[in-house]
């Protein structure tokens, strides 16, 4: 029963979402929207579980005085401050929450991602060596696309790198991506069917009592 009930729940939920696609009735449409709201509600509880895990990790680190435990205080305090203003002072524009978002989170996120520019360049230097036809193709297309995206490429005579980049993006890249997409889509449909029919049970792992 501990496994059969969740399989039945998955089957009913999956079949409803599958069948509703073919029945454009107002009542079914309303139920479909309700079901999506239910998923959002359950997802919100799952977020609390994730936050619990974050707190547990940092509180354990502080309690056992593990290496770098003082940084855990920084995480917990940052969380508390942002959460306090978010919950009690709303999240609308021109609030303290918004100010913190714009002046702390946005710059941190942008800088963190821009930092990758340095590491991606150094990784490329070490990895991309034209040792085979495939590596040469990858290297040359990457260089053409990078050059084709900056204004200086217009100064290179007899070579319209901007147009070459556009063509590479629109034809061979689309062909490769479409091939990958078709494979992924067929795999997703097969996995979804296995989940609905209860053949795929790995997501039900964990929790004792099989």
């Amino acid at each position: 029963m501990r496994l059969q009930i969740p399989i039945a729940i998955g089957f009913v939920a999956g079949m409803f979402m599958f069948v509703q696609f073919f029945i454009p009735h107002q009542m079914i449409k309303a139920s479909f929207e309700d079901a999506l709201d239910w998923a959002i509600i359950i997802g919100a509880f799952a977020l609390v579980l994730g936050l619990g895990s974050l707190f547990r990790t940092h509180i354990d680190k502080i309690r056992h005085r593990r290496e770098g435990f003082s940084y855990s205080f920084v995480t917990l305090i940052s969380f508390a401050v942002m959460f306090f203003f978010g919950i009690f002072y709303k999240t609308a524009p021109h609030t303290t929450f918004d100010w913190l978002f714009m002046n702390v989170q946005v710059p941190l996120e942008a800088t963190m991602f821009s930092l990758l520019a340095f590491f991606i360049a150094s990784a490329a230097y070490r990895t991309f060596r034209a040792r085979s036809v495939e590596a040469t193709l990858l290297l040359s297309v990457a260089i053409i696309v990078m050059l084709g995206r900056v204004p200086i490429s217009d100064k290179i005579p007899y070579l319209n790198l901007h147009e070459i980049t556009e063509w590479l993006m629109m034809v061979p890249t689309v062909a490769a991506k479409r091939g990958i997409l078709l494979g992924v889509a067929l795999g997703a449909v097969a996995t979804s069917l296995r989940i609905i029919l209860g053949l795929e049970r790995s997501h039900l792992g964990g929790g004792g009592g099989g």
Binding site: P6, F85, T95, E109, G179, L182, A185
Partner: protein, 244 residues
């Protein structure tokens, strides 16, 4: 950048806008200090990022999911449009959500499978028709293009035909590379080899685009430091784009 923080325009005579610029600038420098090596300043900024991002997600979930979709319909129906009485049916997702916490009680942790099964089943059912429609049928339809297209004046568009042929060859060969039910020898081996070439072109283009996206973020941060932060200490380098 917002000029005021929660209605407060200045703290100790310094405008909240300037304080915000300094805060953002110091955090930016703290993150870039990692280029020199891992150090405590970077670690502090990194941990601030984790805490702030988690709280941002939590606060938004509270205001956009818990309150309007669960709390108000159940306890404050007067705040819900077109609802006169509490929607008791929402007790079901509420209970399913609470069952997730049974993970913390080893004796009842199997109950946490119910909400997971519901979510997985729901999105599995939702994805089948959508994936077939958008990722399979539409993509196949776009691949089946005329090999000898003609424009409005009756002229043959030979290069467009070549592009369409290349598209078909690329898609079929890429699929052949991922088809493992047949050994990659002979014709199949040749097709999968061509598939790899197309994949390499795709990965190269993807890599180039990713690098340029990161570079553009880097330019944004440098512009912020030069044109937003430096003027607050009296150094003016002209009117920049003012990237926040």
């Amino acid at each position: 950048m917002p000029g005021a923080a929660g209605g407060i325009n200045a703290i100790w005579g310094i405008s909240t806008e300037v304080i915000g610029i300094w805060l953002a600038a110091l955090l930016t420098l703290a993150i870039y200090s990692f280029l020199y090596g891992d150090n405590p300043v970077y670690k502090v900024a990194e941990h601030v990022f984790v805490g702030v991002s988690a709280a941002y997600g939590a606060a938004l979930t509270y205001h956009l999911a818990i309150i309007p979709k669960l709390y108000n319909p159940l306890f404050r129906p007067d705040l819900v449009p077109d609802a006169d009485e509490p929607q008791y049916i929402l007790i079901i997702p509420g209970l399913l959500g609470l069952l997730i916490f049974s993970r913390f009680i080893p004796r009842y942790d199997w109950l946490s499978r119910w909400p997971i099964a519901f979510i997985m089943g729901l999105y599995a059912g939702l994805s089948i028709p959508r994936v077939i429609q958008t990722n399979i049928l539409k993509q196949m339809q776009a691949t089946i293009a005329p090999l000898l297209p003609v424009d409005a004046g009756g002229e043959y568009l030979l290069f467009s035909g070549f592009e369409n042929l290349l598209l078909v060859v690329g898609v079929v060969c890429t699929l052949a590379y991922f088809y493992f039910s047949l050994p990659h020898r002979g014709v199949m081996g040749g097709m999968s080899r061509v598939g790899i070439w197309f994949l390499m072109i795709g990965f190269g283009a993807g890599f180039g685009n990713t690098v340029m996206a990161r570079i553009s973020l880097l330019i944004g941060r440098i512009q912020f430091m030069l044109y937003d932060w430096l003027p607050t200490i009296g150094i003016h380098l002209g009117s920049g784009p003012g990237v926040g």
